[in-house]
């Protein structure tokens, strides 16, 4: 453990190492770490911003959806009302039409029946007259017995 010139050499070695580390190692590491720190901070800030944007978009989307739903409900209500109106109107028209048709048909039927009855009555009258003529072996003056015949015919028609 004697001190001799070795320490001079050791000082040189140490100074060279110190110079090398101060020149090439620490600046590079310090720079890399600072850059990474900045990058991570930026990344975190961006993530936070993204999250905020997402929340904003979410709330905006919720608003839009709510509005759309309201609007759709409104439209559906309107449509329902309108369809009810249309159905009601159609129902009224149909009722009306059917009544009209029924009335017309009934009237027609009545007219037809009356006409048939008249025809029948005339037929019966002439048959009766013919029958009577056969019985009486002579002409029956249809004109002279018209009243009688008519009366008969109406009795038949009624029965």
């Amino acid at each position: 453990m004697t001190i001799n010139a070795t320490f001079i050499g050791q000082i040189l070695v140490f100074l060279i190492l110190l110079w090398f580390i101060a020149r090439f190692i620490t600046p590079a590491l310090s720079q890399a770490l600072n850059e990474r720190q900045k990058k991570i901070a930026d990344g975190l800030a961006a993530a936070e911003r993204g999250q905020k944007d997402l929340a904003d978009a979410q709330s905006r989307a919720d608003g839009v959806i709510k509005e759309a739903r309201d609007r759709a409900n409104q439209i559906i209500d309107q449509a329902n009302r309108r369809s009810n109106e249309i159905v009601d109107a159609a129902k009224g028209t149909a009722q009306h039409e059917s009544e009209r048709i029924v009335t017309a048909a009934r009237g027609e039927a009545a007219t037809e029946a009356a006409r048939a009855r008249d025809a029948l009555r005339r037929e019966v009258g002439s048959l009766v007259a013919a029958g009577a003529a056969r019985l009486l072996e002579r002409e029956v003056d249809a004109k002279a017995h018209a009243d009688l015949l008519d009366k008969l015919a109406s009795e038949i028609g009624r029965s």
Partner: protein, 272 residues
């Protein structure tokens, strides 16, 4: 480990052999070739190791190796930031150089005791001490650099006049009667720093090395006597325990030698 020496060496010769440097030169101008070579080799290895990490460090995701280098850097940077306020770029470089280099040199103590000497012997060197920090020249060299950095930092912070003024007026006062006591105390205070720094590291590593040698002597005893197998077992257990404990000393001494110079420089820049 030491078995091959047992036939030709007494324990004393063994230890003396292991404590002898490979020397070149005479008197003061003697150079310890082993210390110079090992410390330069380890400085180069440390520099290359750190450079390999620093070269690839960028803002992106670091690889495991780069991450390890960054971890060392951040540890040192954090330690320096705790004691030194102000622009600490150079302080971090100083602390990183001291820490990594001293760890590398101290770690040589964990090599099997006779292996480096045997290899050097094959290459024709009669002696080879592998541990540069167990050579007082190695530790005092770093302490001297630190001493000059302390003085330089003080002059930079206070100016030459301010520093000279402090030498004669602090710590007792500006009264002319007190100039000489002030100056004497300042000399002691200033020189105590490098001396304690270098002696602490040297003492720890020298003692650790010596203890490894004594443990190795157990193995030598194993070859000599009948009950020697117990001694061999003793060497195995004691050597393992001391090596594991020594890992702590290696890192702790390097840590102390890293932090104290930064503390001294920070103190030197303070105004009294």
């Amino acid at each position: 480990m030491a078995a091959e020496h047992s036939t030709e060496q007494t324990p004393t010769e063994y230890i003396v052999h292991h404590l002898t440097h490979l020397k070149v030169g005479e008197g003061f101008w003697t150079f310890h070739v082993d210390t110079l070579f090992m410390s330069a080799l380890l400085a180069a290895a440390t520099a290359w190791f750190l450079y390999a990490g620093a070269r690839r460090a960028q803002a992106g995701v670091p690889s495991r190796f780069v991450n390890f280098i960054e971890m060392i850097y951040e540890f040192v940077d954090g330690q320096v930031a705790d004691v030194y306020h102000g622009n600490r770029a150079f302080m971090v470089a100083l602390a990183l150089s001291l820490f990594t280099w001293i760890v590398a040199m101290n770690a040589m103590d964990l090599l099997p005791l006779d292996v480096p000497g045997s290899i050097a012997g094959l290459l024709g060197a009669k002696y080879w001490r592998v541990l540069p920090t167990a050579d007082l020249n190695g530790t005092i060299a770093m302490a001297i650099v630190v001493l000059f950095l302390i003085i330089g930092a003080a002059i930079r912070a206070k100016g030459l006049r301010g520093y000279a003024h402090e030498w004669v007026t602090a710590p007792f006062g500006a009264n002319p009667i007190l100039w000489i006591p002030n100056f004497a105390l300042n000399v002691v205070e200033l020189l105590a720093k490098p001396v304690s720094l270098s002696m602490r590291l040297f003492g720890n590593m020298y003692a650790g090395e010596l203890l490894f040698m004594l443990i190795a002597l157990l193995g030598m005893g194993a070859a000599l006597s009948l009950g020697g197998s117990f001694m061999f077992l003793g060497q195995l257990i004691a050597g393992t325990m001391w090596a594991i404990f020594h890992i702590l000393i290696i890192l702790l001494q390097a840590y102390i030698f890293m932090v104290l110079p930064i503390v001294y420089i920070a103190m030197a820049e303070e105004h009294h």
